[in-house]
């Protein structure tokens, strides 16, 4: 009893040892996820309601298995509700917050200096499953290093979603162009931008103009960027040189001059909801969009959904380009549990998990790993059966993915993209009736500014 009341003597040597052990504790802690700890994740709040519970279930499963206390926050991202980009900015500047953050298209390039490299995770996945989509690589790599992991959640193509009956009325069977089974590019050789232009007046006359916007939000920016690439045009090339006054650019702008009169009268004020409304209301012959509009039509306007067929964008003089907007998961440098975070992200991108998440989103999500484009979900979604079969790019589509403003260096491209520079050019030329020279001069001045920023 007496001995227990006497406090043990702490020598300076003991104190130093204890201090060193305490300092090493966090290092030990991050060595392996099995060492437990906690993780805070901020993922994109999926707009398909069934997708979020599956993600929550998977994250909880991993946490339980690895004795890690995982918190998952789902943050929305959209024109009127931009929680995700605002949280990214706040956490990057303050150096505190979640361990893992979701990043949309250009955000990795915006915050790469605050992110931990992910070469080990991405490299491992590539070794397991094969290459990533080149657009995902362009957006996630900085100076040769993967700064974030491309993920399937929220990643989307924006291909054609067309009304079968309208095209049939014009003598075209889109289901034959792109059947719901392996085919070859020759069946769809007629699907060109010339064909799109040729059918446009008939669509407008039928009261179903194409639901294609020339506004300043992403849906509008993405499809026009794909058209420009298909014509061989670029605003800025990969070396950073301005290419605004090229022949390809002029040819593409002239194409838009011919197309715009057949588009809806309010095309230049379209936002990301306008094209969906065009399709779901039954007043649009086609849109370039992920299957979200078809999905809502299936819920609210089944007759329209039954008449929809999804397939790649038209071919231009320089090829077929399909807009691709991938999402990414990055680990902040300030995270104290980076290895656990990486383990979790790698685990979530294993084929089985990606497939489960794709099924939950009814095939909306497009995995950035190309070998995962063979999931059954795209074959089985209906009505009509197979309507999404050609949503993921198949090898025989002979198509290339594209993000508008590529291949310009990312710090210039992101400005071209967010300022919708090409769409403003089209509006000035085709709606405001400015001359080609005025428009090209304006674009050159604008882009010069972006380069010098």
């Amino acid at each position: 009893m007496k001995a227990s009341t006497k406090s043990p003597r702490l020598t300076r040597r003991d104190a130093l040892k204890a201090g060193a052990a305490a300092a090493a504790l966090p290092l030990v802690h991050v060595q392996t996820a099995s060492a437990a700890g906690s993780l805070k994740l901020a993922f994109w709040d999926h707009w398909v309601p069934a997708a979020n519970p599956v993600m929550k279930k998977l994250v909880a499963e991993w946490g339980k298995k690895n004795h890690v206390d995982v918190t998952l926050d789902l943050l929305s991202s959209g024109a009127a509700n931009s929680k995700l980009p605002l949280t990214q900015a706040a956490e990057a500047l303050s150096g505190t917050g979640h361990d893992v953050m979701a990043f949309a298209t250009w955000d990795v390039q915006h915050y790469h200096q605050h992110l931990a490299p992910m070469d080990d995770v991405v490299g491992g996945l590539i070794k397991q499953y094969g290459p990533m989509d080149p657009v995902a690589e362009y957006l996630a790599k900085v100076k040769g290093h993967w700064m974030a992991l491309p993920t399937s959640i929220g990643s989307q193509y924006k291909p054609t979603c067309a009304r079968i009956s309208f095209f049939k009325s014009q003598g075209v069977d889109v289901e034959k162009w792109y059947p719901a089974k392996p085919g070859n590019a020759s069946t769809a050789a007629a699907w060109t931008y010339d064909e799109l232009l040729k059918l446009a007046p008939a669509a407008k006359k039928a009261g179903m103009p194409y639901g294609l916007g020339l506004g300043q939000t992403t849906d509008s920016v993405d499809w026009t960027g794909a058209v420009l690439r298909a014509f061989g045009g670029e605003l800025v090339d990969a070396k950073g040189d301005i290419k605004v006054k090229s022949d390809a650019m002029k040819e593409c702008l002239e194409y838009f001059q011919k197309l715009v009169p057949s588009l809806p009268d309010d095309t230049v004020s379209y936002n990301d909801a306008s094209n969906n409304r065009a399709l779901i209301s039954g007043k649009g012959a086609l849109i370039f969009n992920p299957p979200s509009a078809w999905w809502v039509a299936r819920r609210d306007a089944i007759k329209v959904a039954e008449d929809c067929w999804t397939f790649p964008n038209p071919t231009g003089p320089k090829g077929k380009f399909v807009p691709y907007l991938p999402y990414f998961w990055g680990v902040w440098k300030f995270s104290r549990n980076q290895s656990a975070a990486k383990e979790l992200l790698s685990w979530l991108q294993q084929r089985d998990r990606v497939q489960e998440l794709c099924n939950a989103s009814s095939g909306y999500d497009i995995p950035p790993i190309l070998s995962m484009h063979d999931f059954k979900v795209w074959e089985t979604e209906k009505p009509p059966l197979g309507t999404l079969y050609n949503y993921p790019l198949r090898p025989w589509h002979d198509a290339t993915t594209n993000v508008s403003a590529a291949p310009a260096p990312a710090h210039i491209a992101t400005q071209i993209y967010s300022n919708a520079t090409f769409n403003v050019m089209i509006t000035k030329l085709a709606k405001n009736k400015q001359s080609m020279k005025e428009v090209l001069d304006w674009a050159e001045r604008e882009i010069n500014g972006y380069i010098n920023m």
Partner: protein, 315 residues
Amino acid sequence: MADGTTGAAASGVPARRAATRGGALHRMARRRSTIAVMMCLPLFALIAGLVVYPFFYSIYLSMLSREMDRFIGLFNYEYLLTSDTFHLVVFQSCLFAITAVFFKALIGFILAHVMHNISGRDQRVWRGLLLVPWVIPPALSTLGWWWMIAGSYSAVNWFLQLVGLHPVAWLAITGWARFWVIVVNVWFGTPFFMIMYLATLKSVPEQLYEAAAIDGATGLQKIRYISLPLLRNIISITVLFSLIVTFANFDIVEILTAGAPANSTQVFATYAFQVGIGSGNIPMGAAVSLFIFPILAIFAIFILRGVNRRAKEAI
């Protein structure tokens, strides 16, 4: 405390000095001005933390490079001054804010007088109804406006077609798009003006209007010679307040047009967001936002000078 006292007493002179010092501190602490300053300290701390620090931090931020790793002085401002798009933003912001505030003040003034002349329960009902636009979150009400006027499927165009007229692409034509963002802002902000003016009108002695009526003044003359002079200060203050809020408006433009067509409806706040968050250039976004400051400072100086002058005249 007991130890201290004993110690001071034991040492003689130092004890007296300590007592004198303690007395001076005690007197200072009991001074009313000191108490006032002490009581204001939490407020000063709040203002320093939430106003002064963010303001100077945003100035500092606006002088950094895109990657925020280099100090580049006034380069961001220089760039903006040469940008065609930014010139358009300045023009549209001024047009939007000045026109909207003018109409909010005018309609608010008229409505306040109409309300003032409605008596009893009816006034309460109308007042409540007219306040509705102001209490609905603007993001939601703007979405409602978008559904009414957005292009091909809008209620307004449906009505136009019903009466045999052609639909109009309201948000796709520069003039109309600018018109509608102003209309929505006026619709949202007018109740604020109305309620402020109505409150002031209620404090105007009724005898003034009665005396004017006996002298044969018409309704317009009563407004010109009684209401307006008495409302001048509140008009100035509400106009200044509304100018500040309207210049910083974001949601109406973002939801209704997102700056389209061709940036013609872009205002400071939407452009700052597009550049700062959309393009990942937070320093440039900060520079865009700070351009509002000198413009508002000019308005504030003129308006507050008028208020002060009238206050001195009243004394």
